[in-house]
């Protein structure tokens, strides 16, 4: 077990190295002097040579690339990604203040998707092959093909423009600060509904599909046949014998969905003007705020790495075959 975790950790360190090298190489393969990132439209000729030299000095631009990389990684490890070009504030602070909003949205969407998706997956595994199940399988398959931004626009049309049921965008109403506490909570909840639906529907399809195939896999095994043969009721076979084993592969899914969630956040936050990390990312890309883009790219990749690491370790705890298999 320990050797498995240690090995997994070593690989994670290696992957972290790969992430930073990839980001660094990407930024440095952009045509033009990196210095033009920092001065933007002003143009090189209008700036005194002494100032240019001091900028080169500050950002180590005169050093060889590997040295520049080491400087950058050393800062990145302490979450220091430099200052934003837009407002000269540290990238770290800008990201940290948006993080709670993105987390709230994703956490709720994830929970909703799991609460609906997993039971649907179990139902379709149990009813496999019947008409209702096959029809719903096609339905879920089509859900994958729906562009989330289109779904969002349709929901806005339906619930906000046609019928004034829910707010069109934003996280709170304009008069939020004049409201009483219960009214504030209600206001926030109303603003959550459409973004959460948009984020959750595609996830729900993934959860349903994944839990269905996990359960189908378990049902084929000998111990289920044995349970049936000894006369256990079908419900008991499913809940007692099959379901708990099918939960194990779901752990990997939690690790796999994190990058997916972060990508989804960019679109959903942009559409609903949700003041989170995704909106910050797209704004930074559009204003060519490279320090923020670079910082956020590394941060999100590391978050993904940590999620898959945690998932793998939990998996090893849950499934003795993984950790014992390592020794053989």
């Amino acid at each position: 077990m320990t050797t498995y975790i240690v090995r997994r950790l070593l690989y994670a360190v290696l992957t972290f190295f790969g992430i930073t090298v990839a980001t660094f190489v990407l930024i440095h393969s952009v045509p033009g002097d990196p210095i033009s990132f920092f001065i933007g439209r002003a143009g090189l000729n209008t700036i005194p040579v002494a100032v240019l030299d001091s900028i080169r000095e500050e950002f180590h631009l005169d050093d060889p690339l590997p040295v520049q990389y080491l400087h950058w990684v050393r800062a990145a490890v302490t979450l220091d990604f430099g200052d934003s070009i837009v407002d000269r504030r540290p990238v770290r602070d800008r990201v940290l203040e948006k993080l709670p909003n993105t987390f709230t949205l994703n956490f709720i969407a994830f929970t909703v998707a799991a609460l609906f998706g997993i039971p649907i997956g179990i139902w379709s595994a149990a009813r496999s092959g019947r008409f209702a199940e096959r029809a719903s399988a096609v339905g879920f398959f089509l859900l994958y093909s729906l562009p989330s931004f289109w779904v969002a626009l349709l929901l806005m049309q339906l619930f906000s423009v046609r019928n004034d049921l829910l707010p069109l965008f934003g996280m709170t109403s304009d008069d939020y600060f004049e409201l009483s506490t219960p009214a504030r909570l209600d206001d926030r909840l109303q603003h959550l509904v459409l973004p959460v639906i948009t984020m959750a529907y595609a996830q729900l399809a993934i959860f349903a599909r994944f839990s269905k195939s996990a359960l189908t896999e378990v049902i084929r095994q000998d111990f289920i046949t044995a349970a049936r043969a000894k006369g256990a009721a079908p419900i008991a076979v499913y809940w007692h014998h099959a379901f708990r084993n099918a939960l194990i592969p779901l752990i990997t899914l939690f690790g796999l969905t994190v990058p997916y969630l972060l990508s989804g956040s960019v679109i959903v936050e942009q559409i609903f003007q949700w003041d989170g990390v995704g909106l910050l990312y797209i704004d930074s890309v559009l204003t060519r705020d490279y320090p923020t883009v670079m910082g956020l790219t590394v941060i999100t990749a590391v978050v993904t790495l940590l999620a898959s690491l945690v998932a793998d370790i939990l998996y090893a705890f849950a499934d003795p075959r993984v950790r014992l298999g390592e020794k053989a």
Partner: protein, 325 residues
């Protein structure tokens, strides 16, 4: 029926057994035809016109020379055969802004008075071109790396696996947005960026297939007869990995189309004024309060095309799998 093509022929028979998949394949073909002949289907220039100078086809020229600043000939045509949709995708007409469907525009107009149907027909070109070429790049990169990893194993396999791990750590859309923004959005950048970020599935399929078949008798026989590695890989092993590649390519086109439209929607797709399905939806977002037609139709186009490719891919997977139905 030779033994070599029997798998493909059998799979085709099985493929057609699904009516939904056959319909989806026809729909894909229909979209491809629309995309290919877009300048002849939606164009304000006549397909055929007769002036004092004789017969000419102004629309036909748009196949290779895009000509947005077209002026009708000074000499009135005595005969003109109009295109089915008599509007060019980029013609701005501020007098007819945001018209609902009808009024001479089958699917309405956008905020600059451009015909939505015409923009959608020309947008099909962007979506399919980006989808296909991005997938070709992904398949080439993925199968090359997968083949190296699967055939040589050891260090090659280890390195390729680590690279895949790193690529998978980057949230796909964020990485893509970053690359496209760094290198300025254009059709070429988008195709290359999409291809270079989505080859991991192909690599894993090909690697798995190679690991499975590299020690099978025919591969050993090729090696014993003195064939070089390159010949064994490309002539003997890679053709056997074609089936899983075809499946993942079909899903790949679907996801590339979806991603391209997302990029265009976010304003980082093919630069304006070139029409794409995602950029029409982005206009729809700005005018969500009244222009429902800008939301409905381009979204339907994206959804139906992506769904068709996904259905075809799923059916190909089933048809090639000897264990299914």
């Amino acid at each position: 029926m030779t033994p070599a093509d029997s798998l493909w022929r059998l799979s085709w028979i099985r493929f057609r057994r699904s009516r939904l998949a056959t319909f989806a394949l026809l729909y894909v073909a229909f979209t491809a035809v629309v995309a290919l002949f877009a300048p002849l289907i939606a164009n304000r220039k006549p397909l055929l016109s007769r002036t004092a100078g004789g017969w000419s086809s102004p629309a036909l020229r748009d196949f290779w020379i895009p000509d947005p600043d077209y002026d009708p000939p000074a000499v009135a045509a005595t005969y003109a055969l109009r295109a089915p949709v008599a509007f060019s995708p980029n013609t701005i007409d501020l007098g007819s802004r945001l018209l609902p469907p009808g009024n001479g525009h089958y699917l309405g107009t956008d905020d600059l008075g451009r015909d939505v149907l015409s923009r959608m027909i020309h947008g099909a070109r962007i979506s399919l071109t980006v989808g296909f070429f991005a997938t070709i790049i992904a398949v080439l990169v993925g199968s090359f790396l997968g083949a190296m990893a699967g055939y040589y194993g050891g260090a090659a396999d280890w390195i390729v696996s680590r690279v895949i791990e790193v690529v998978l750590c980057f949230p796909f859309l964020l990485l893509l947005l970053g690359i496209v923004a760094l290198f300025r959005p254009s059709m070429l950048t988008i195709m290359i960026a999409l291809g270079l970020t989505s080859w991991t599935n192909e690599a894993r399929y090909v690697r798995g297939e190679f690991l499975r078949i590299r020690e099978v008798e025919f591969a050993q026989a090729a090696r014993a007869s003195g064939a070089r590695d390159g010949r064994i890989i490309f002539r003997h092993l890679l053709p056997n990995a074609l089936a899983p590649m075809l499946v993942s390519a079909s899903f790949g086109v679907a996801s590339a189309i979806l991603t391209e439209s997302a990029l265009s929607f976010l304003g980082l797709g093919v630069p304006l004024p070139t029409a794409s399905w995602g950029s029409i939806l982005s206009t729809a977002h700005e005018h969500i309060e009244y222009a429902w037609w800008l939301v409905l139709f381009p979204g339907l186009a994206i959804f139906s095309t992506v769904a068709a490719f996904n259905i075809v891919g799923e059916r190909v997977r089933e048809a090639l799998d000897p264990h299914s139905d």
